[in-house]
């Protein structure tokens, strides 16, 4: 053993030996490096409330898409009405798992008849499929309305944040004014009128969607982009000033690199989260309008119009109100909880 000299300039040759197996172990990656997305997914997965809500949303969405394919009844088919025969009123207002007169005969003859799980409504339509279809309509309205809001808000918000100066000033004043308009009243006003003006325009083209739903989309596009564009503008403004952007610039990064590697990834999570939280509020607005009779067109159901129709027979058939009410609350609640979970998982900064 050589004596160790403290302040020697001699090189210790031991330090230059090939690495032993034990040394090499330090270099082995214990677990793969985690990306931002993976981290977020892990956090989301751990959040039980958000996870359960996500499963509920998936179940509701899938069943609203799949069930109409194999369900033997359709949402607009009035069961008692057969062409050429008088209307069979025994099909109207059936309680759950009751059957109409001709169905009763079939059962007695040994045939199997698909049960009316939630009974039928006042016009003799199978209520279960109406609820399912109403859920589909409400979800679709919520989803597309948020996509519209997201696109318009992103475009205007990023223009405002990117250009700044006078463009920003003008856009932000417009946003201020639209923001201070009472939204619900404007929605009611616009959809009342748009419905009438749109009807002749869409005749023969997209008539099946109905003027009411289109006017709802127009209203969303006109009024609700302001919140989103404010958010995106604020994000871009604050991100532009961050130190890591400065350091990227200092090390010679080009504008494109900064935008794709720094601005967009840091901005996108906030944007997607607020778009996700927009869906329940759109569903809420749609059901509110349908309840006031301004929503979807007549034979087509939405959860709000089902609840509104049920109000007429509330003393005899309260379950007809309870069912869409439960579905709507479940959708709104789980979307909200899932949105909160997304926010906690992907944007720890926002967590308040």
């Amino acid at each position: 053993m050589k004596k160790k000299k403290l302040f020697t300039f001699h090189v210790d040759l031991d330090m230059f030996l090939p690495a032993s197996d034990k040394d090499k172990e330090y270099l082995v990656q214990m677990r793969p490096s985690s990306t931002f997305f993976k981290d977020g997914m892990r956090r989301l997965y751990k959040n039980k409330v958000a996870f359960v809500s996500f499963i509920i949303i998936i179940i509701i969405t899938l069943s609203s898409i799949i069930v109409p394919f194999f369900w033997p009844y359709s949402y607009e088919n009035q069961l008692g009405v057969v062409p050429g025969k008088p209307v069979d009123s025994s099909f109207k207002n059936l309680a759950p798992f009751e059957y109409g007169s001709t169905e009763q005969q079939k059962i007695e003859a040994g045939e199997k008849v698909f049960p009316h799980v939630f009974g039928t409504d006042a016009a003799g339509r199978d209520y279960f499929i109406r609820v399912i279809y109403g859920t589909r309509v409400s979800l679709a309205v919520g989803f597309f309305a948020s996509v519209i809001v997201l696109l318009i808000g992103m475009l205007i918000g990023s223009i405002s944040g990117y250009f700044g100066g006078k463009v920003d000033l003008v856009i932000m004043r417009i946003v201020d004014i639209i923001y201070s308009l009472p939204d619900m009243l404007m929605v009611i006003l616009l959809s009342t009128v748009l419905k009438l003006t749109l009807n002749p325009v869409i005749e023969g083209t997209v008539e099946s969607i109905g003027a009411n739903i289109i006017s709802l989309f127009v209203v969303f596009a006109l009024l609700y982009w302001v919140g989103m564009s404010r958010l995106i503008r604020g994000q871009i403004l604050s991100l532009r000033e961050q130190e890591y952007v400065l350091s990227a610039k200092a090390t010679g990064a080009k504008g494109k690199w900064i935008i794709t590697k720094h601005l967009i990834p840091n901005c996108i999570s906030v944007v997607i989260i607020s778009a996700a939280l927009q869906i329940p509020s759109a569903i809420f607005t749609e059901s509110y309008l349908s309840f006031l009779g301004l929503g979807v067109n007549a034979p087509m159901p939405s959860l709000g119009s089902l609840a509104s129709d049920a109000l007429n027979g509330i003393t005899s058939y309260p379950y007809r109100l309870v069912i869409p009410a439960v579905v709507i609350s479940l959708i709104v609640l789980s979307l909200n909880l899932f949105g909160d979970g997304l926010r906690d998982a992907f944007d720890p900064k926002l967590n308040g």
Binding site: I177, S180, P182, I188, L189, F284, L292, A310, N336
Partner: protein, 309 residues
């Protein structure tokens, strides 16, 4: 009030006036964009009769002139013209009539929700993570995600039909109980959550610790320091709460048949009573804008730490 504050108030006031004017303009032109005009749906009218009716209501004049007459009448006489469907009554009278009931309903709901919300929120914050806090939070989460029309209908089924304790019809005073409860539940739940988080925030502040260190009693800390300061965020919610109550009253008055302005508004939409729709929209929207203005200014007055921009 310093000059900066005054500048802020003036700026907000101008914005509010501009907004109200914009609302009037949008309402007017949107209503006149409807194809066919208001008398087309009338049964058994000849073109001559229609022309006479349009002349009577001034609909034959150029649009710009109609617009300025309409604005002038609102500003000088608070006159929104006659109702087209309720013959012989002016929109102003109908609005005043409905407002009496609706204001009563809305104010009681606002008061109830604020008081209960503040108390529940404070209790939840002081008993943080205890059983009572958990219960309060679960219930308020459920209330926040339930649309008002569903809440109202369920209450109607439960307390007026299954277990008839209160009348289902909102025309009497006792009949206002359910509408008030329906309207108050959402803001109450919201205020509870707001109050809880702001109270928790305040309880963690340095001045509370200082007060504790000085030996101030628990009660005095809560009532003298914490409660007052944690009320500020609740104050900012007053404007949005009014907007909620106004829009909520549209459905609540429909469900419980309350003879208020909300029901008039909804029925005027289905009847296509244009002057009525315009008048109601303008009055309700202005109410919301004014309330938001008052809230914002009050917020700045109460808490001088807030920076004005």
């Amino acid at each position: 009030m310093n000059s900066k504050m005054l500048g802020y108030v003036v700026k907000r006031l101008l914005l509010a006036v501009l907004t109200v004017l914009l609302i009037c303009t949008i309402t007017f032109f949107v209503m006149h964009a409807v194809p066919g005009g208001p008398f087309v749906g009338e049964k058994a009218t000849t073109p001559a009769v229609q022309a006479a009716m349009e002349a009577k209501y001034g609909l034959d004049k150029p649009l710009a002139e109609q617009y300025f007459t309409y604005l002038k009448d609102i500003v000088t006489k608070f006159d929104f013209g006659p109702s087209l469907k309720q013959r012989g009554r002016s929109v102003k009278d109908i609005i005043f009539d409905g407002m009496r009931t609706s204001l009563k309903l809305g104010l009681i709901a606002a008061a109830v929700s604020t008081v209960i919300g503040v108390v529940l929120g404070a209790v939840a914050a002081l008993r943080r993570n205890k059983l009572i806090d958990r219960i309060i939070m679960v219930i308020t989460t459920a209330f926040v995600s339930m649309p008002s029309f569903i809440m109202g209908s369920l209450l109607l089924i439960l307390f007026a039909i299954k277990f008839p304790m209160v009348p289902a019809n909102g025309t009497t005073s006792a009949g206002l109980i359910l509408p008030v409860v329906t309207l108050a539940l959402y803001p109450m739940a919201y205020i509870t959550r707001l109050m809880r988080s702001s109270m928790l925030d305040v309880l963690g502040q340095d001045y509370i610790r200082t007060a504790r260190a000085k030996g101030v009693s628990g009660m005095r800390i809560i009532f003298g320091h914490a409660l007052k300061n944690s009320l500020i965020p609740v104050l900012t919610y007053l404007g949005p709460m009014l907007a909620y109550i106004v829009t909520g009253s549209l459905v609540v008055e429909r469900i419980f048949a309350v003879p208020g302005i909300g029901r008039q508004f909804v029925s005027s939409i289905t009847n296509r009573d244009y002057p009525m729709i315009m008048g109601t929209t303008i009055v309700l929207a202005s109410l919301i804008v004014i309330m938001n203005l008052v809230t914002d200014i009050l917020y700045k007055v109460v808490d001088p730490r807030i920076t004005l921009d």
